[in-house]
Amino acid sequence: MTIRLTINGQIRTYDGDPRDSLLDALRRTYRLTGAKDVCREGFCGACTVHIDGQAVPSCLRPMGLLEGADVTTIEGISSPEGFSPVQAAFVEHDVVQCGMCFPGMVMSMTDFLKRNPSPSRAEVKTAMAGNLCRCTGYEKIVDAVMSVQADERANR
């Protein structure tokens, strides 16, 4: 059965096994390798994408459930030349190390800030609970997320 879905604004079809995870389809079939294959259990958040506007780990979503879904991956979150506000904050605060967790961090924090544009530090930490990082010790990532809302408050 062919599955039709939208990925980063383009209609795509999928003819593979409907049990394949969205993560594998993105990486193997569409060669969108920004979503990272790290734990495959939904614990690390490195494969997070937006499905119909909500951040979810793509390793846990079988393709068969995505007929008609609107998927945005890290490759589609900003214009090719520019950064989204979250990406810009991560670059500005020099928080990146190995970088494997950051595509997922960007997707989770983007969705979170859309829902809660002025969070407390504790709320940011709660929202980041599903995104693990082995390098940074987190605090500077939290600082960067807090700066996004501070900048946006300043702009209001």
Partner: protein, 783 residues
Amino acid sequence: MTQKLEPSGAVMDYPRRDAGDKVRGRTKYTVDQAGSDTLHAVLVRSDVAAGRIAALQVDAALAMPGVRAIATGEDAPDRHGLGIADHPIFASTDIRYHGEPILAIAADTLDQAKAAAAKVVLRIDPVEPVLTMAEALQAGARLIHPDWKDYEILFSGAARGGNIAWTATVERGDTDAAFARDDVTIVEGCYRVGRQNHVSFEPRAVVASFEDGRYHIVTSTQAPWTVKNVTAMALGISPSQVRVTVPPVGGGFGLKFDCSLEPYAAILARKTGQKVSLINSREEEMLTCLSRENAEIRLRSAVTPEGEIAAREGTVLMDCGAYGGEQVFLTTMTAHTLGGNYRLGATKIASHAVYTNTAPNGAFRACNGVYNTFALERHTDEICAAIGMDPMEFRKRNVVGDGSLGATGQVFQGDVLKPMLERMERLIGADPQPEIDPDRYLYGQATTVGTWFIFVGPSAASVILNADGSATLVTSGVEIGSGTMMQSLPQMVAAELGIHPDKVIVKTADTDASGRDLGVGGGRTTVSIGAASTAACAEVRQKLLSVASEMLQTPVSKLVLGNGRIEIAGRAGSGMTIQTVIAEAEVRHGPISGSGAFTAPGTPSMPGCAAGHFIDAIDIPVFAVHNCDIAIEKATGRISVLNYRVVQDVGRAINPRAIKSQVQGGVVQGLGYALHEEMTINGDGCIDQSGFETYKIPGVGDAIPITLEMFEGAPSIGPLGTKGAGEVPILNVGATIACAVANATGKQVNELPLVPPRVLDIIENETSGLDLVHIHSDWRRNV
């Protein structure tokens, strides 16, 4: 002579240039390389810990759809190793650990390779595995390597035998006489730690091809030259037949300091004539990770009432797993991590790498140092309790300083640890005492010291000056995430050449383009590759300035290089741009480039003290002082870290912001080791923790902001006085948390990690501490 470079020219919070692509998901790590033109491989691994292969038939697997080749032990008969060549690429007769590779299959797709793996006919006659060091050292224990005497020795001078892969010893002075003194208190303790998995988010991965009769290996490694040499050794070919290139590495932490998957992919690439990708699944990474080794330690000290350590004896057992690997080398470290912190009288230390039927272990950030620091600092606090001395006072009296002897008799330079302890006292004093509810929580605090050292060893660099005034730096360095290749190296090269770091192009490792290098690890990149790079820059400067000298009719000594211009000293606006001089140099002599090299300068030890060591004395010691406040919930044993403070000897901070990031990340990784990263091995010899659900790495909720004070100015032979800063932040964390738990509970704390059930046990039960009976109290019986 031209003016000497001032460090301040290189110091800045220069941002990393790879962040943009990393946050956009564009960075192509090794795991992202394999497209539709690449075959996919899997390894068939043993599912028993010990045995003999009774039958192996691959015909049915080879006939499966999409299968292109199968490789077995016949394709790679030679052994490799560090110190001793004890490790075959494939098990072909004896199985020595659960997960040991037996064959490799390449197919058009990963699913086809997996389907073929299920068709391999494999029968193993199991034998009872030897799973613990205590079992391995028992009289009459089955030998894991019955042919150990026949193995090729790659580094001579160590005692070995039976299930002991390697022994390193230190003997300085007469400990017996010191222990017999009637004015000393004798303190003895045993300590035990489990393994730690790196959980680098990019697993070990490789894409290999066979082109024009040579292997090209694209791999996620910290040590491209090790991969090149070991792959050649395993395949029985010359290293010149192997080229290694390295994309950005998605985390290493020491895991990728050794060759691992590369030979399998290389063999399959030759057999198929196609590119072959081999990537460990997360489960394979968890079960066969070259973990930080589990270790067992006994320490015994004779201390005077004034706190002088008259004698110390120590024995450290390091589980190397089924093959010697890095642990053979790491036995060397004990002399320095256990014996390089305090001034010691007579000293005897033994470090054994012990074979067991478990997955081989490897290197992990501050390898060997973290558990020796834990044992030593717990032992130090036990000494303080025994002689009634304040732990801070004891440390200030006893830490090594200018002229102190290390364990192997090397002479330390400069007073570093004592002033660092005094800085820490001021840091602690600046914060209010934490307020906690004493009915619910126990409060504890501790301060510890740690000694690490920078791995020096060979590095090479070339610097090419381009016509547009930029420079290209070519080394075998790898960007593993720490940022050294993105920050400190371009900063140093830029400062040497008077240009902006943005104008320094940093080429990633390609063993066809750059000279030999020991690898990115041990905190050595800034120091060793940095020194080679600055040496290459010196040649470039000399060539550039000699041409400018002729053009400006001014002696070289009066020329100043800066802001992309060469000017006459004291005459701003004189001179010309670098591009103008480069153009003239091309006309006169051709393009400008320079090369540089660096290696261990060699620091003397006391002759006859150390045996079986790869490094007898350390060239660049690095010191750390850590402190924490904790609260232990009495009902659950759960530990909350309230404050964590670090004073770290950084030599010279070239990029202070990047160092802060390394300290924040390293300490949190250490909190995982101290508190909840637990690995256990079941009766079948299999590691129980197969994924993220069962092996808990720190999450954001486990992190707190680390207070850091950088200690600058300690002696260092590193370029601009630098020392590596990324390795050492994890060094004292286990020690500091454990000492704080002992402080809070008034009990002995002898094991890590301090998971809540273990802490509850400490709180609720009277314990006389840990006694490891297989390590003798009489040191001589351990060697």
